[in-house]
């Protein structure tokens, strides 16, 4: 059995750990509120953008000559995966969930004999992926300096993706991120952004639009923007998810530390009592033998 002194030290150390996790939880909760707000505020933009593009692609006259960003290169040989993770740890399963999702996708791509290229956003994802897929990672971006997700950063990633696409470096692009549902649930998502997948129902309204300038020109200008927008949306969702995940992880840690302190305190009291009893017995038996 551990000595009284050891127990005392352990209790003190668990208590100080608990203080740290509690503080982190509070910080995460405050940040979460902000991140969640901006994720919700950012949704109308990406939704509207999607709508416009949906309407446009339905109205496009010449499907064969549609911009490549919309219809793809016609083959699916090289896949580019943009894996978006956080820059900081201690956020529960947040990063590993994305990585798990991404890895199963990677395995499928490689099984099918296709070429794989990876861009990691956020240093944690890079750390976890570089052991196995180190040679596939072509770029690693990290926005450690910027406090909140902002459009400027997303645009940088978007432009890079488009540049690579224009250079013919890949055919299909998928982004991986965590969608924020609520504080305890974040759903890892794989969203294909090039070529654009029309999710959801075809917009039934056959109402024709007037375009100025013509459809093709609008599409060529709009599609790159849409990519940045989708990446930005992913970043916002991700940052809300990160804080949520961290908050619940730290909440658990605080609770576990509390339980541990209770258990250790009981053990401490017991062994103190045992020591006293032992001493008493010794004194009594000593007195009896006289």
């Amino acid at each position: 059995m551990a000595s009284l002194d050891d127990l005392k030290k352990r209790i003190a150390s668990v208590k100080s750990t608990q203080k740290i996790t509690k503080a982190m939880k509070m910080v995460a909760a405050a940040k979460l509120r902000r991140a969640q707000e901006s994720a919700e505020k950012g949704r109308p933009y990406s939704e509207k953008m999607n709508n416009v593009i949906l309407n446009l692609s339905n109205g496009i006259s010449d499907k064969e000559n549609a911009p490549k960003l919309l219809s793809g290169t016609g083959q699916e040989k090289t896949h580019l995966c943009v894996v978006m993770t956080s820059d900081r740890g201690l956020c529960g399963g947040f990063n590993s969930n994305i990585i798990k999702k991404a890895k199963s996708y990677f395995a499928r791509i490689i099984d099918e004999g296709k070429e794989l290229k990876i861009i990691t956003v956020g240093s944690k994802g890079n750390d976890q992926l570089k052991r196995v897929y180190g040679d596939k990672i072509i770029e690693n971006i990290s926005f450690k300096e910027s406090k909140n997700a902002n459009y400027f950063d997303a645009d940088k990633v978007g432009k890079m993706v488009i540049e690579k696409f224009a250079a013919g470096e890949f055919d299909v692009c998928t982004i991986f991120y965590n969608q924020f549902k609520n504080v305890i649930t974040q759903i890892p998502q794989a969203q294909q952004i090039i070529p654009l997948k029309n999710e959801g129902e075809e917009s039934s309204s056959e109402e024709s639009y007037e375009f100025e300038p013509d459809e093709d020109e609008i599409l060529t200008n709009l599609l790159p923007k849409n990519i940045s927008t989708q990446i930005f949306k992913a970043m916002l969702e991700n940052s809300a998810s990160e804080q949520g995940s961290r908050m619940s992880a730290m909440d658990n840690a605080t609770r576990n530390a509390g339980e541990m302190v209770d258990k250790l305190t009981i053990e401490y009291n017991r062994s103190r009592q045992a020591a006293i009893t032992k001493e008493l017995i010794e004194i009594i038996s000593g007195a009896e033998s006289l």
Binding site: G42, P44, K48, V52, L56, Y209, E210, E212, I218, T229
Partner: protein
């Protein structure tokens, strides 16, 4: 019958403005300024750098945009833009900064003619605000 329609301006960060009593909106569309009244035909167009004017009963509101897309459908005008400034609130220094950045850009030789045209537009508009 009322002559009002709904305008929504959104940027990536948030919904910038939402008004449902707009009488007329003037937007700097790609091929010239475009005034939109109620029951305008459905249209999608681009914005070039310029001033958006939103007219309602309470008066006019002016915004400076650098780029964006407008969509008008069923008396709903959606303006998507990544850079918009309310002219009543914007800081004069910010305008100066934008102007300076634009002037630097245009002196850069490796921009296409189209980009040059847009930057030129931007400079003109910014000068007029100033």
């Amino acid at each position: 019958m009322s002559e009002e329609f709904k305008v929504e301006i959104v940027n990536p960060e948030k919904s910038f403005l939402s008004k449902d009593d707009v009488i007329e909106a003037i937007v700097p569309a790609f091929e010239g300024e475009m005034g939109i009244l109620k029951d305008h035909i459905s249209i999608i167009s681009f914005l070039k750098p310029g001033i958006i004017i939103i007219k309602s009963k309470e008066g006019e509101k002016k915004f400076f945009v650098e780029d964006g897309i407008v969509e008008f459908k069923n008396n709903n005008l959606s303006i998507l833009t990544s850079s918009i400034y309310n002219l009543d609130e914007v800081d004069k220094n910010r305008i100066q900064e934008l102007l300076k950045a634009a002037e630097e850009q245009i002196n850069n030789s490796d921009v296409s003619d189209q980009a040059k045209f847009l930057i030129d537009q931007k400079i003109n508009v910014l000068r007029s605000i100033n």
